[in-house]
C-alpha cells in the first residue's frame, strides 16, 4: 500500500475526516433532537389531555353555575313575589274597604250634587287603584278576591268599565240573559278592564271603545273594539305569548313602566278557564279583543236585586223634611203605630216619604207600619190628667152611654 501522495490527497483525507466528524455530530444532534421532539410531543399530549379535562370541568362548572343562577333567580323571583303578594294583599283589602266607605258616603251625601260628584271622582280613582293592586296580586300568584253573588254579563262589562281611567269613552251594547258564576265575576271583570285600558290607551283620545256582548254556541263573547292603530305582528306575537302563558311570568320582564295587562289577562284566563285573544282587527281599524266565557262559567241564575239596605243612610235629611199628616190621624196620639196606606191603592195618601223601605219577595216596595205622623213634632207634653183620672172619666163615659141606651129602650116602648 502506498501512502497517498501529494498535498491534494492529504487535503482530501482531511476533508473526508472532517466530513465524517460532521456527519457523526449531525447524527448525534439528530438523535438528540428526535428525543427532544418525542418528549415534547409527549408533553403536548399530556397537556392536551389536561386541557380536555379542564374543558370538561369548566363545562360542568358552567352548567352548575347556570342551574344555580336559575335557581337563585327563581328563588329571588319567588321571594319577591311572596313579599309583593303579601304587601299587595293589604292594599287590595284597603282599596276594597275604601270603596265601601266611599259608597256609604255617596248614599249618605247623595242629595248634594257637588259632594256626590267629588265622591264619584274619589271612587273612580280608587277603582283604578284597586285594579292595579289586583293586577300585581295576580302576577305574584295571589288572588283577586271573591264575590259572593253571580253578576249579569252586562254588569260585569260595566264593572270593568268603571275600573279604567277613560271609562266615559266606553259603550256597552247588548244584553244577554246570562250571569257569570260568582267565582269568575272578578277575574272576568279584571281581564276586561285590562283590555279596555289597552283599548283606550292605544287609541286616539275621544274615540269610542265598544263592548259588544254576544251569545255564541259555546258561551258568551265580550268583544272589545277600539279605533286605534292596531298592533304590529311583533306586538301580536308578544301578546299571544303572554295571553297563553307556558310558564310563570317573571315580574321583572314586564318592563318599566310595567305593562302587565296581557300578562294578567293570560294568567287569569288560564286559571279560571276562559279565553282571551287580541289577534283580530276591529271594524274601526284598531284591535279587536275577545273574551270568551265558556258555558261552565255561566249561569241563568238572575243576579240579586239591588240591596235595599240604604234608606237610613240614603235619606239623611229625613228629620228636616216636614212631616205631613192627615187630619184624621191627629186623634191618634197614642204610641200605637198608625198604618200607612200602600201607594198603589191610595196614591193620594202616599205622602210619607219617610217610610222604612223594604221589598216583597218579588222586589216590589212594601211599606211598613210606621210610628204616628204628627203635625206637632215637639216632645209629647206631660199628660194633664193622671191615669186614674182618665180611667174614672172613661168609666163615667161608659156609664153615661149605658144609661143613654137604657133610656132609648124605655123611650122605645113608649113609642110602641
Amino acid at each position: 500500500m502506498t501512502f497517498p501522495q501529494g498535498p491534494v490527497t492529504w487535503a482530501l483525507v482531511v476533508v473526508a475526516l472532517v466530513a465524517v466528524g460532521a456527519v457523526l455530530r449531525a447524527r448525534a444532534t439528530n438523535v438528540k433532537l428526535r428525543r427532544h421532539h418525542a418528549e415534547l410531543r409527549q408533553e403536548r399530549d399530556a397537556l392536551l389531555h389536561q386541557r380536555d379535562e379542564l374543558h370538561v370541568v369548566h363545562n360542568g362548572l358552567l352548567q352548575r353555575q347556570s342551574t344555580e343562577l336559575a335557581e337563585v333567580r327563581k328563588d329571588a323571583e319567588e321571594e319577591t313575589k311572596a313579599v309583593l303578594k303579601a304587601a299587595v294583599r293589604t292594599l287590595q283589602g284597603l282599596a276594597d274597604e275604601q270603596q265601601v266607605v266611599i259608597e256609604k258616603a255617596q248614599r249618605k251625601y247623595g242629595d248634594d250634587p257637588g259632594i256626590l260628584a267629588d265622591l264619584m271622582a274619589m271612587d273612580h280613582a280608587n277603582s283604578q287603584f284597586g285594579r292595579r293592586a289586583q293586577g300585581i296580586a295576580v302576577l305574584c300568584g295571589g288572588w283577586l278576591g271573591r264575590r259572593e253573588t253571580v253578576a249579569s254579563v252586562f254588569d260585569v262589562a260595566r264593572s270593568a268599565q268603571g275600573r279604567i281611567r277613560h271609562f266615559d269613552r266606553v259603550r256597552v251594547n247588548g244584553q244577554v240573559n246570562f250571569s257569570v258564576v260568582s267565582r269568575a265575576v272578578e277575574p272576568v271583570a279584571v281581564v276586561l278592564a285590562e283590555l279596555l285600558a289597552n283599548a283606550t290607551n292605544y287609541s286616539a283620545p275621544g274615540t269610542p271603545v265598544e263592548i259588544n256582548i254576544q251569545a255564541v254556541p259555546t258561551g258568551v263573547c265580550l268583544i272589545v273594539d277600539d279605533a286605534g292603530l292596531g298592533m304590529g305582528q311583533e306586538e301580536k306575537d308578544r301578546a299571544a305569548a303572554l295571553l297563553s302563558p307556558q310558564a310563570a311570568i317573571s315580574v321583572s320582564s314586564l318592563g318599566i313602566p310595567p305593562q302587565f295587562g296581557f300578562a294578567v289577562s293570560g294568567m287569569l284566563a288560564a286559571r279560571y278557564g276562559f279565553r282571551v285573544s287580541v289577534d283580530s282587527v276591529s271594524p274601526y281599524g284598531g284591535v279587536r279583543a275577545v273574551v270568551l266565557i265558556p258555558d261552565e262559567l255561566l249561569t241563568t241564575e238572575a243576579p240579586p236585586a239591588a240591596p235595599a239596605e240604604a234608606p237610613e243612610t240614603a235619606l239623611p235629611q229625613t228629620p228636616q223634611v216636614q212631616p205631613v199628616r192627615q187630619p184624621e190621624q191627629w186623634q191618634a196620639p197614642a204610641p200605637a203605630p198608625t198604618p200607612l196606606f200602600p201607594p198603589a191603592q191610595q196614591p193620594d195618601t202616599a205622602t210619607q216619604p219617610l217610610a222604612q223601605i223594604t221589598t216583597t219577595a218579588g222586589g216590589l216596595p212594601k211599606r211598613r207600619r210606621k210610628s204616628p205622623v204628627s203635625a206637632v213634632p215637639s216632645a209629647e207634653p206631660e199628660p194633664v190628667r193622671s191615669n186614674e183620672e182618665t180611667a174614672s172619666r172613661l168609666g163615667a163615659f161608659q156609664r153615661g152611654t149605658r144609661s143613654g141606651r137604657d133610656t132609648t129602650t124605655t123611650e122605645g116602648t113608649e113609642f110602641q
Binding site: P113, H124, W143, R147, G162, A306, P347, P365, A375, S378
Partner: protein, 124 residues
C-alpha cells in the same frame, strides 16, 4: 300560591255609580227634591236599551207615586244618581211628577188641649 279558601271577600259594590251616570253632570237638587213624588205615565214601554237601573225604576214607579228618596233607597243608589235617571225619564216624557205636599199648618196642641179640657169641665 294561595289556596282558594284563603281568598279575601270583595264586598264593595260591583257597578260604580259614575258608570251608571255615564260620567255626566249631576242635576241640581232643586229640580227633583227628595220628596217630589214620581210615577210612570200610563201605557209606556221601557226602551229596549234601558239599563238595569232604569228598568228597576220603571218597575218601582209603575205601582203609583213614590218619592225620589224612596226610589233611590230601593235601588240602593245615591240620590243624585237616581235623580239623574229620573230626570232622563222625565225628559223622555215617561214620568209624571208631583210636587211634595205642602207642610201642614202646625196647630198649637196646647190650645187644643185647653179647649178640650174646658169643654170637659163644662160638660163632662
Amino acid at each position: 300560591m294561595t289556596a282558594p279558601g284563603e281568598e279575601q271577600q270583595v264586598s264593595s259594590g260591583f257597578v260604580r255609580s259614575y258608570v251608571i251616570t255615564g260620567g255626566r253632570g249631576l242635576p241640581d237638587a232643586d229640580d227633583l227634591s227628595l220628596v217630589t213624588l214620581v210615577t210612570l205615565a200610563p201605557d209606556r214601554q221601557p226602551p229596549p236599551s234601558a239599563s238595569p237601573e232604569v228598568r228597576a225604576i220603571w218597575e218601582l214607579c209603575s205601582g203609583g207615586y213614590l218619592s225620589v228618596a224612596e226610589v233611590a233607597g230601593h235601588l240602593g243608589l245615591p240620590v243624585g244618581v237616581a235623580r239623574l235617571l229620573l230626570q232622563d225619564l222625565n225628559q223622555q216624557g215617561h214620568l209624571l211628577r208631583r210636587k211634595a205636599p205642602p207642610p201642614a199648618q202646625l196647630v198649637d196642641r196646647k190650645i187644643l188641649e185647653e179647649v178640650l179640657h174646658g169643654l170637659q169641665v163644662r160638660f163632662g
